[in-house]
Amino acid sequence: MTKLRVAPGPAGEAEFETKPLRINVGPQHPSTHGVLRLVVDLDGEVIKRLSPHIGYLHTGFEKTMEHRTYQQGVTYSNRMDYLHGFAHDLAYVLSVEKLLDAKVPERAQRIRVILTELNRIASHLMFFGTGILDMGALTPFFYTMREREKLLDLFELVCGVRMNYGYFRIGGLAYDLPEEFIPATRAFIAEFPAMLKQYAALFAKNDIFLSRTRGVGVISQETALAYSLTGPSLRASGVPLDHRKANPYSGYQDYDFAVPSANSGDVYARFMVRFTEMTESLKIVEQALDRLTPGPINDPNRRISLPPRSELETSMEAVIFHFKLVTEGFHPPRSEVYVPTESARGELGYYIVSDGGSMPYRVKVRVPSLANLQALEPACLDGLFADMVMNIASLDPVLGDVDK
C-alpha cells in the first residue's frame, strides 16, 4: 500500500490506499530472454511479489534421451543450453566416459578445452549484447555480435555448423582439427583484447549503465548459497566457486587462469565478473594451443570408439566393431555417475543411471539456469519494476536450459 503525504485536508492527513496491481510479463516479451513468464504484483513501481512460471519451452529432453543410444545423446545435450553447447556436450561425454572408464588421449582433451572456452566467450558476448540492449543501448549489440560471428566462423571451420555441434564423441572427437583452425584462432586471440577495450569504452564508464546497475538487485552471499546459485552470478556475490579450479576435468589443471569474483553481489558485479572472465578464457585457449601436440584423438579401445576408416578395408575385426558400434552402441556397466563441470552459467552435470543396456536408463541434467532463475525473486523484491529487467539480464537464464 503506498501511503503518500498529501496536503492535509480539513479532516487531517489524508492517505491514498491502492491495491497491488498484478502484471503478467508473459512468455512473449522482449525482456525475458526467452519464454519465461513472470507474474508480478506491483505497488506503484515497487515489486511486492514475483513468481516465475516456466515450462513454456519444456521439450522432454530427459524422457527422449532414455530412448536414444549413448552416442545419439550427444545431439540432444547441446540443444539444451544453445548458447554454450560445448559445455553440455563436454559434461555429457565426460559422464559417459567415466561410466566406461574410457581413456581420452591428451590431444582430444586439449581440443575440447579450446572449443569449450571459445564457446564460453561467445556465450558471454551474447550475454553482453542482449543484456545492455535491455537497458536501451543498441550499439553494443552490434559490436559484440561482430566478434561472435568470428567465433562462429571458427566453430564452423571445425564442426561444419555454427551452433548445435556434434563434434564430441564418447572417447574422443569425431575427427581431427583442420590445419587452418590454429592460425585462425591465433589471429582471433591477437585481436580480441583490443575489442574488449572497445566494449569497455562503450559501457564501462557510461553513467547511465553505472547508475542502472550499481547497487541494484543485490544478492547477498547467504541468499546466493541458500538459493543454490552457481557460476558467475555466485562469484559476483563473493563465493569464488569454479569447478574448473575446484575439481578440474578434461585437463583444466594444466592451465593457470584466475577466477574473477566480486563481493558486492549486484548487477554491476555480475556484468563485470563475466567481462573479466572472457580474458581468462582467452588465456586458457592460448595455453591450450601452445601445448597442443600431434597424437591420437580417440580412445584406442575398439569397443568404445570407431576404428579409423583406413582400417575398415583391411581387417574384418574392425568392420565387426564398426557395425556393432554404429547399430547398437556399447553397453556400459550397470552403475550411476555424476561429473560436475562449469558452464557459462554455473555448475552443470549429467547424472546418468545405466542398466547395462545400450540406452541410458535415466539421464538427469543438473542445470545451472533453473537455480539461477530462482534467485531472481530475492534480487527483485522491493526493487523497481524497471530493475527487474536488469536482474533477469544479469542472471542470464537460458530457457532451453531451464525447461529441458
Partner: protein, 109 residues
Amino acid sequence: MMFLAAGLIGALALLVGALLGPKRGTADKLAAYESGIPTESTARERFPVHFYLVAMIFIPFDIEVALLVPLAVRFNVDPQFLFWQALIFIAILSVGYVYILKRGVLNWK
C-alpha cells in the same frame, strides 16, 4: 494558407485509410494483448497517485524544452544575449524543480 494545406493532406490521408481500409476486428484480435496470456482483470483499476504526479511534472518541463528551441534557431542576434536570456528562463523554472525535489515526488520507494 500553407498550414491549411498541410492539415488537409494529413486529414485526407487518415480519412481515406479509415474509409477504404478493410476492417476485420475479430474478437480475439481486439482482445487486450498481455504477452500472450488472457488478461484476468481490466486495466481500469486504481493506480497509485504517484503516476499522476509524475505526469503533472512532465508537462511544464516539456514545454520548457519546447520553448528553448526557438532560441537555438535565432542567428541574427548576439549569442551572448541569447545565452543570458535562456539562463534566466531556466533559473525561473528551477525554482519549481527545487520545490519538487524537496517534496520528494521523484523518489519512488
